[in-house]
Amino acid sequence: MSGAKPLHPGLFTWPNANPSLIGSRCLDCGEHAFPSQGSCRACSGQNTQNAELGNTGTLWTWTIQSFMPKTPYHTDETPETFRPYGVGYVELPCGLKVESRLRENTPDALRIGMPMALEIISVRKDEQGDDLVTFQFCAAEEAH
C-alpha cells in the first residue's frame, strides 16, 4: 500500500513491513493502555511512556457488525457495497485486550481463543487519492 497514510497517527508503527500496535505503559504500576495515553487509568499517575504492543494475540470475544453503521462511520462504502465485518477484543501478549475490526465476518470463522494477527487495511481514500489505513486483526493462519 504505497502512498498509504494512517487514518489516525500513533496507533501502529508506520511505515513498517511488520507493523505493531503502539500503546502506553505506566512506569509506576506497569499497566498498559491502548491507544497510548499520558495518564494511567489504573493508578491515576501521569508517568507513562509509549510501548510497542506487538501484532499477535488471541480472540477474547467477538461479534459481527451486520448492517452499515450510521455516522460517524466513514468509509468509501455504500449500502450496496457494504460487507459485514467482525468486531472483537484481541488479547495481546502483555494481557491487554484491544478492540478491533476483524477480517472474518461469519460465526463459523470466529472462535474465542483462536490465534489472531494484525493487518493494515484501507478505510477510504483522501482527496489526493491516497489510502487512509487502519489496523484490524484476522485469523493468524491467514495473515499476510
Binding site: 487514518l7 489516525h8 491507544p35 487509568r41 453503521p69 450510521k70 491487554l96 475490526r101
Partner: protein, 380 residues
C-alpha cells in the same frame, strides 16, 4: 428520616407523535401530582433529566414558575437513577420535605449515533466502525456465554418473557407476545443478539413525588419507602462500552458495587427481594444482571430461565412490565419507569401482571454507558 414515594406518574412509552418529549414529561408530572393528591406549587424541589429533549427545568414553563429549586441531571441511561438518588439525599438530609423526580425523552428511530469526542475518543474509533453500543452488548454476552455455559435458548426465553409481560401492561410500547420461532428467526443485529433481543430508543415520561416518610400519609394511603438509592461508576477493569482496550483482569462491574452497597445500606439481602427490575437493554444484559446483582450465581441463569423463576408467577419476578425490551428506552425516563413499576407492584395495583402473594420488598437496577449503575431498594 426515611424517604417515601407517594405519587406515581407515567406517560406511556413508545411513540406519541403529537407530543414533544417535554410535554410527555409534563404529562407524567401531572399524573404523579394527581396520584399524590397535591399540586406543583407544593413541590419544594425537582431533579429531572432528558438526553435528547432539552433541559428538564424547562418543564416549569408548562407546569408553573413557582421558584422551586430545579436541578438538571445528565447521567446517560442512569439519569433516572441519579435523579432519584439526589432526591433521596435532599429529603434524607432534612433539606426538603417534598419534591419531584422526573425524566422524559423523545429519541429518533434506530440506534443512537454517539460522537467519539463526547466520550473522550478520537474520530478514528467511530469512522472505522467501532462506535456502536450494539457491538459491545453482543461481545459481552458472547464472552459470558462462553465462560458460564449460557445457551442461545436462554436468550430467547428472556425475550419471550419480556413481550409476554408487555402484553399484560397497558402502558407498554410492545403489547404483543412473540412466539419462540418469531424471536429465534428474527434478523441478526450483532451476534448473538437479534432484532427482538434488543430494546429500541423510544419516547415517554415518568415522574415520582417523594417526601419525608412521616408526612407520607398526607399524600397517599399506600406510600412506598425508598430504603436506599445508590449510584456507582466503573472501576478499572470493568468491561464497558466504547473501550478501545480493556485491562488484563476483568473487575467487578459498577452493577456489582452498586448492588452490594445498596443491600448493605438497606440491611437486606437478595433473598429478601420479592420483585425486581433489572436493566434489559438487551436479553444478555438481563441474564448477566441477575448474577451481578447477587440474585444467582454466574451460570445459574440457564436453569432459572428454564424453570421460569423470573416469570411473574416465579420465585423472583423480573421486569414484570416487560422491561426495556417491551417498553423501549427513553433514556431520561427509563430508570424511573423501573421504580414506577416496582411501586405499582408493591401497592398491589399491577392488574393482569400483578405478582401474587402481596410482595413487600422490590429492587430496581439501571445500567448505562459508559459504566454507571443505579440500584434502589423499595418496601411498603
Amino acid at each position: 428520616m426515611e424517604v417515601a414515594i407517594v405519587g406515581l406518574g407515567l406517560h406511556p412509552f413508545g411513540r406519541t407523535a403529537t407530543m414533544s418529549g417535554l410535554e410527555q414529561g409534563a404529562a407524567a408530572v401531572r399524573a404523579a401530582l394527581a396520584d399524590a393528591g397535591t399540586d406543583f406549587k407544593a413541590m419544594q424541589f425537582a431533579f429531572g433529566g432528558s438526553q435528547d429533549s432539552g433541559n428538564a427545568d424547562s418543564l416549569v414553563n408548562l407546569l408553573g414558575l413557582t421558584g422551586l429549586q430545579f436541578t438538571n441531571v445528565a447521567n446517560g441511561c442512569a439519569t433516572g437513577g441519579s435523579s432519584l438518588n439526589a432526591a433521596y439525599s435532599a429529603i434524607k438530609s432534612g433539606q426538603y420535605d417534598v419534591g419531584l423526580v422526573v425524566g422524559f425523552d423523545k429519541h429518533d428511530r434506530g440506534a443512537f449515533n454517539p460522537k467519539p469526542a463526547e466520550w473522550g475518543l478520537d474520530d478514528w474509533y467511530g469512522e472505522t466502525g467501532l462506535m456502536l453500543t450494539t457491538q459491545y452488548f453482543g461481545m459481552k454476552i458472547q464472552r459470558y456465554m462462553h465462560d458460564y455455559g449460557i445457551s442461545r435458548d436462554t436468550l430467547i426465553r428472556v425475550a419471550e418473557k419480556a413481550f409476554r409481560n408487555g402484553a399484560l401492561t397497558p402502558t407498554a410500547w410492545r403489547q404483543t407476545a412473540l412466539s419462540w420461532e418469531e424471536i429465534e428467526n428474527a434478523p441478526m443485529v450483532s451476534e448473538p443478539l437479534n432484532k427482538y433481543m434488543f430494546c429500541s430508543p423510544a419516547e415517554g415520561g415518568c415522574a415520582l413525588v417523594v417526601c419525608r416518610a412521616d408526612i407520607a400519609h398526607q399524600f397517599h394511603s399506600r406510600p412506598i419507602y425508598l430504603k436506599t438509592a445508590v449510584v456507582r461508576s466503573r472501576n478499572y477493569g470493568s468491561f464497558e462500552v466504547f473501550s478501545p482496550s480493556q485491562p488484563p483482569e476483568v473487575a467487578a462491574s459498577p452493577t456489582v458495587t452498586a448492588s452490594q452497597a445498596a443491600f448493605e445500606l438497606a440491611g437486606l439481602g437478595p433473598e429478601d427481594i420479592d420483585v425486581a427490575q433489572l436493566q434489559d437493554t438487551e436479553v444478555g444484559a438481563e441474564i448477566m444482571h441477575m448474577a451481578e446483582n447477587g440474585f444467582c450465581a454466574h451460570g445459574d441463569q440457564e436453569q432459572w430461565l428454564a424453570d421460569g423463576v423470573t416469570e411473574i408467577t416465579g420465585r423472583l419476578p423480573v421486569n414484570t412490565d416487560g422491561g426495556c425490551l417491551a417498553n423501549g428506552e427513553p433514556v431520561g425516563a427509563s430508570g424511573l419507569r423501573q421504580v414506577h413499576e416496582i411501586c405499582v407492584q408493591l401497592r398491589g395495583d399491577g392488574g393482569a401482571r400483578q405478582v401474587a402473594g402481596e410482595p413487600k420488598v422490590g429492587y430496581t437496577h439501571v445500567y448505562g454507558a459508559p459504566g454507571i449503575s443505579g440500584v434502589n431498594i423499595l418496601a411498603r
